[in-house]
Amino acid sequence: MNWVKNNLGKWALSWPPLLYLVLFFLVPTAIMFVAAFRFPGDFGGLAPMYYVEEGRLVWDLTLENFQRLFEEPLYWELFLKSAVYAGVTTLACVAMGYPLAWLIARSPKKYRDLMLLLVILPFWSNFLIRIYAWMIILGPGSAFTHAVNAVVTALGFEPLQLLFTPFAVIVGMVYVHLPFMVLPLYANLEKHDLALLDAAQDLGASAWQRFWKITWPLSLPGVFAGSALVFIPALGMFAIPDILGGTDSIMIGNLIKQQILDTRDWPFGSVLSIMLTAGVLGIALLGALVARGGKRG
């Protein structure tokens, strides 16, 4: 009884967000899960889940949708390719975001807020507009493309097409997701005790060793958090491949969107979505295990 009394405040505060999550996350997920076992409707959407025959209720469910997925390697390749795109995007974000976050975290305090503001400044304009801007930058007529191709031809190669290639997709995804890497990394690096670096140097560590033995391991929680924030949305991305990618650079998100909106095959779209969610959960679980192992070892 006492426990209830002591925690009444917590309950009162936590039920609205709980309710929100149940209504708008758990319930839709459940609906999608059920939809994966249903037949497509004659004109798209979903067929009825059951019918009544001779006064008895008959469930009209199927495993066909899953079968279709498992029998067609093309879909698996697409999953794999999406994972590679998201992985490359994540690595590029770490490679670019880490020095940036480090620079901000080690700047004088009075400049840090301004620098963080600059990092999130792109959010002030619309996502699609920013992607279309890249379409112009990477387009054949842009100064950027001309400059790149001037170098490429000077080196004796054929001029390159930048737009509508996997490269353009990666560029766009890195651009959009970079702040999600920088912010958690900054939050981590900013908290580091700089006396540890003095101590390491005092005990004989070179600058390189100080980074790899002290700063890097202590920043891993930030790297993991940033990677999750980049990898997960990148994996399901469809707008960027749509706009910047060619026919060969579509991702699993494009296929899901196509199934749901264009083909209107909701059951199969649901199957793909479930697999995507399961994949993300699996990777997150693996990451958590690795992180825990790293802490021990």
């Binding site: 005092d202 005990l203 004989g204």
Partner: protein, 362 residues
């Protein structure tokens, strides 16, 4: 030749001089202490020894080698930081092994050396713990073990005990003395706690405003402070305004304390008649009694007890001798029973030998 020589070292921050022309040398195997009030430049001097700061002028020579171009990671010098600065993602063993790994020792030798150090600081069974799983005193010992493991020529300690409570501090002081004896490594120890400095050190450099005021053994510093600052800073001391009447030519001088009279005092150095200064006199060097026989070579006054401070082991009696001149005396409560000897307003006599105190200048 001395192990460490600091020659005319100056360090400025902007137009503030943190270390002002310090010269001193430290012998191999010595427990050397830099003692001084907060902000007097102790840490700055230590950081120059470690290599984190560069002197603006002057020279630091270690083992005959000029250190000015040697970065911290290349100096045979380690520091025990006040915050310990243990690596939180490494176990105690990994922390202690760190300097050896950096020096490129092979794994087998590292393991045995680490075990030896763990034994030295009595932490063998804690080797696999993380720093956050240890108490303050244990962390302290890990920090010391880590800094000693590859036998540096010099160990720098910046107020290593200040984060510990009084009991633990005393215990750690004893451990530090023993450890230093055992490993034979030269310690340069920084503290603002004069009691700690007196207890630990072979020699002490008393600093103030970036300068060394006196460099001597603890006994000499305590008994014969060289100037007013040292007398005031170390222990309890009567500092009475005085003026030299005449030198006596036998290593003593006659001085006059206003409102109190003339007396003889032993000298350490030269004085001139008319020179102003202070008589520095430790409370425990003064005899107090209801009636004292006047002995040869003693300075003798009648007075009245103004205040008593009963401290348990000792009682401090403030005795007013002349016109507004109050002298602090201290007697052990060694008699059986309640042991306090005098009360407020008691008439007493006090006396001290002419060489019990010293005449100090600014």
């Amino acid at each position: 030749m001395a192990l460490l020589e600091i020659k005319n070292v100056v360090k400025r921050f902007g137009d503030f001089t943190a270390v002002n022309n310090v010269s001193l040398s430290v012998e191999a195997g010595e427990f050397f202490t830099l003692l001084g009030p907060s902000g007097c430049g102790k840490t700055t001097l230590l950081r120059m020894l470690a290599g984190f700061e560069q002197p603006d002028s002057g020279q630091i020579v270690l083992d005959g080698q000029d250190m000015s171009r040697v970065p911290p990671e290349k100096r045979p010098v380690h520091t025990v930081f006040q915050s310990y600065a243990l690596f939180p993602h490494m176990t105690v063993r990994q922390n202690i092994a760190f300097p050896l790994k950096m020096a490129g020792w092979d794994a087998k030798k590292i393991a045995s050396q680490v075990e030896e150090l763990l034994e030295d600081v009595r932490l063998t069974q804690f080797g696999d713990r993380y720093p956050h799983e240890m108490s303050g005193g244990q962390r302290q010992r890990v920090a010391i073990a880590r800094a000693l493991v590859d036998r540096p020529r010099l160990l720098l300690l910046d107020e290593p005990l200040s984060a510990l409570d009084a009991k633990l501090r005393e215990q750690m002081q004893i451990e530090l003395i023993n450890l230093q004896k055992e490993v034979g490594i030269t310690f340069v120890y920084v503290t603002h706690d004069q009691g700690e400095a007196l207890a630990l050190s072979h020699r002490i450099a008393v600093m103030s405003h970036g300068q060394v005021e006196q460099l001597d053994t603890p006994e000499t510093i305590y008994s014969y402070p060289r100037n007013r600052f040292v007398a005031d800073f170390i222990g309890q001391c009567n500092v009475l305004e005085a003026e030299v009447v005449a030198g006596n030519g036998d290593g003593t001088a006659t001085i006059e304390i206003k409102g109190c009279g003339r007396m003889r005092v032993a000298l350490r150095g030269e004085v001139a008649p008319g020179q102003k200064g202070w008589l520095a006199l430790r409370p425990e060097k003064i005899k107090v009694g209801r009636a004292l026989a006047v002995e040869d070579g003693e300075v003798h006054f009648k007075g009245r007890v103004n205040d008593c401070l009963y401290l348990g082991d000792v009682t401090i009696y403030l005795v007013e001798v002349g016109d507004g001149v109050v002298i602090e005396t201290m007697l052990p409560n060694s008699a059986p029973g309640l042991a306090k000897l005098f009360d407020d307003q008691d008439q007493v006599e006090i006396a001290w030998r002419f060489d019990a105190g010293s005449f100090v200048t600014e």
